[in-house]
Amino acid sequence: MARIQLRDLCGARSGDKGDISDVSLFADDEAAYEALLGEVTPDRVKAHFAELVTGDVERYEARNVLALKFVMHGALGGGAPRSLRSDNLGKTHGATLLRMWVDVPDDVAANARRRVRPPAPPTR
């Protein structure tokens, strides 16, 4: 097994409906998808988001596009129009989930395709 941060293993996008934050994770192959299924459970996601998510977390599977969907209740400080958060739409929640570390089979870690980074900013 190997320890890997989700940012190196998958993509993510998040959005909102009322006080619900809706985060999708995207794997790049079947093996990575299986690993995510075992590791990124609703309980772990709820614990990861800590004080950011006060309600339940539900997980849905979309195997046809190798994706997991997390529907997080009580995740936006009351919903976009009344939230005091600067990120009142949960637009950063996908990135926040990508901060999670998971244990995956060695070949999954070796094949992780998201280790690429944007060009380095100008050096100071």
């Binding site: 800590a50 950011l52 849905y60 046809n64 969907k69 005091l84 958060r85 600067s86 990120d87 926040t96």
Partner: protein
């Protein structure tokens, strides 16, 4: 023969230049989705100031853009830009058409989504700023069947704006649920403009071609509901398996049961095939079981207090400690003044503003921190009483306070609460009307 749908708008304030690219590339329908959950609240405030407002005000600009193509018989135009006042929007469209000196253009307006006048009967709050049901594709199809070249609606389910021309063109029956579901998928993929063509892409976003002019999407839809998602030639961005699947699941909750007024679609049933060359095929979409519901979703908006905000930036060394001390100062001063604050929110940009306690930064001290303090009160005056304390920090707070940019420091803003509700379709259908006017 495929029908070409152009996704010309994803929110009120979206770009207009990509619309010209769509029109030049050739689309049968330009479809513009202008209404996020919040947009009606903004438009409601407009209408309170001026009864002739309440629609998205850049609507005439879209009319100007589409008109040459419309007069050629190439393109029809569908939009929910009518917002809270589709009748006024219809008048604005007719006015814009007349100002261009055109004639013979049929403009349809769909009304009836507004259920606020019936708040009592529906058990909705009597202080609602807006209460609207999300209508389906049917009234738009009726308008197209009546020959309308421009269709203006208020609140309509986003994907229904795109489903309607497909039903009109292909003659899909209202119980042909698999086809309707396929149309909803296409609509969902196109309704957020650049978000399916490389915008907000979480992968290698820096590999987008020409990221300053990301093209808006085109759906080439076949009579069986399968479609190719692409974009105008020569535009920036990209259409790949990755960009399309990120949009596919955007804000859908349970992907096996995506509710829309006309059908419940199963997004887990479909296949995405990356054909290369910025073309992705979507096929095999089926409806869920059961495939429909007997209610429309609605959204009601009520006042929810007022918010104030202060942002304070401090420099190294000990930037975070200084920012924390400054926010504590303001909270204490509010307490001493007896301001009845109902909720505080502290954020430190560069430390934890977005990630909260998930954001660990043990390895280095951040180069700068912006402290953000927000507060909620029941009334506007109380919310306004804290801002004057910000200036005091300039001479009497921690060292190195600096600015955080222009344009902040406005007065308190009103907060709003939104709640979904469900209403019997019959009840709403009885009040739905389609009015067609010829310019």
């Amino acid at each position: 023969m495929a029908v070409r749908l152009g996704g010309g708008q994803g929110f009120y304030g979206d770009g207009h230049a990509p619309v010209d690219d769509l029109l030049a590339a050739g689309v049968d329908y330009l479809v513009c989705e202008a209404l996020a959950e919040l947009t009606l609240a903004i438009l409601q405030k407009d209408r309170q100031r001026d009864e002739s407002l309440g629609y998205t005000r850049d609507l005439p600009l879209y009319v100007h853009q589409v008109m040459p193509y419309l007069l050629d018989g190439r393109t029809r135009f569908i939009t929910n830009a009518g917002g809270i006042n589709p009748v006024a929007a219809g008048r604005a469209v007719v006015g814009a058409a007349r100002s261009l000196g055109v004639s013979g253009v049929k403009v349809a307006t769909v009304v009836g989504d507004d259920v606020r006048p019936r708040a009592d009967e529906l058990g909705l709050p009597d202080d609602a700023l807006f209460a609207n049901a999300y209508l389906g594709a049917r009234p738009i199809v009726q308008a197209l069947d009546d020959g309308a070249q421009i269709v203006i609606t208020g609140r309509v389910a986003d994907a229904a704006l795109f489903l309607a021309p497909l039903v009109h063109e292909f003659g899909w029956a209202w119980d042909d649920y698999d086809s309707l579901a396929a149309g909803v998928v296409v609509g969902h993929l196109l309704e957020c403009s650049g978000q399916v063509t490389g915008g907000n892409y979480s992968g290698a976003w820096w590999t987008n071609a020409d990221p300053t002019r990301i093209g808006f999407p085109i759906g080439e839809v076949e009579p069986d509901g399968s479609a190719v998602i692409t974009k105008p030639p020569g535009t920036g961005g990209m259409v790949t398996f990755d960009t399309v699947r990120e949009q596919l699941l955007y804000e859908v909750h349970d992907p096996a049961r995506y509710f829309s007024p006309d059908v419940v679609a199963d997004f887990t049933s479909l296949s995405l095939d990356d054909l290369g060359g910025d073309r992705v095929r979507v096929s095999g979409t089926r409806a869920a079981t059961p495939p429909s519901t007997d209610t429309y979703k609605g959204l009601v908006c009520t006042p929810a207090g007022y918010a104030g905000e202060a942002r304070l930036a401090y420099s190294w060394p000990d930037a975070e400690a200084k920012a924390r001390a400054a926010l504590m100062f303001l909270r204490k001063r509010a307490e001493q003044k007896g301001v009845p604050v109902e909720e505080w929110r502290e954020e430190y940009f560069g430390v934890d503003a977005f990630g909260g306690s998930t954001a660990h930064n043990d390895d280095c001290e951040p180069p700068e921190v912006i402290g953000r303090l927000a507060w909620r009160t029941a009334d506007r005056d109380s919310a306004a009483r804290i801002a004057p304390e910000v200036g005091v920090l300039g001479l009497s707070g921690p060292p190195t306070l600096s600015g955080t940019g222009r344009g902040r420091g406005g007065g308190p803003s009103q907060l709003l609460a939104v709640e979904p509700f469900y209403v019997d379709k019959k009840l709403v259908d009885d009040q739905v009307r389609v009015e067609v006017e010829e310019v």
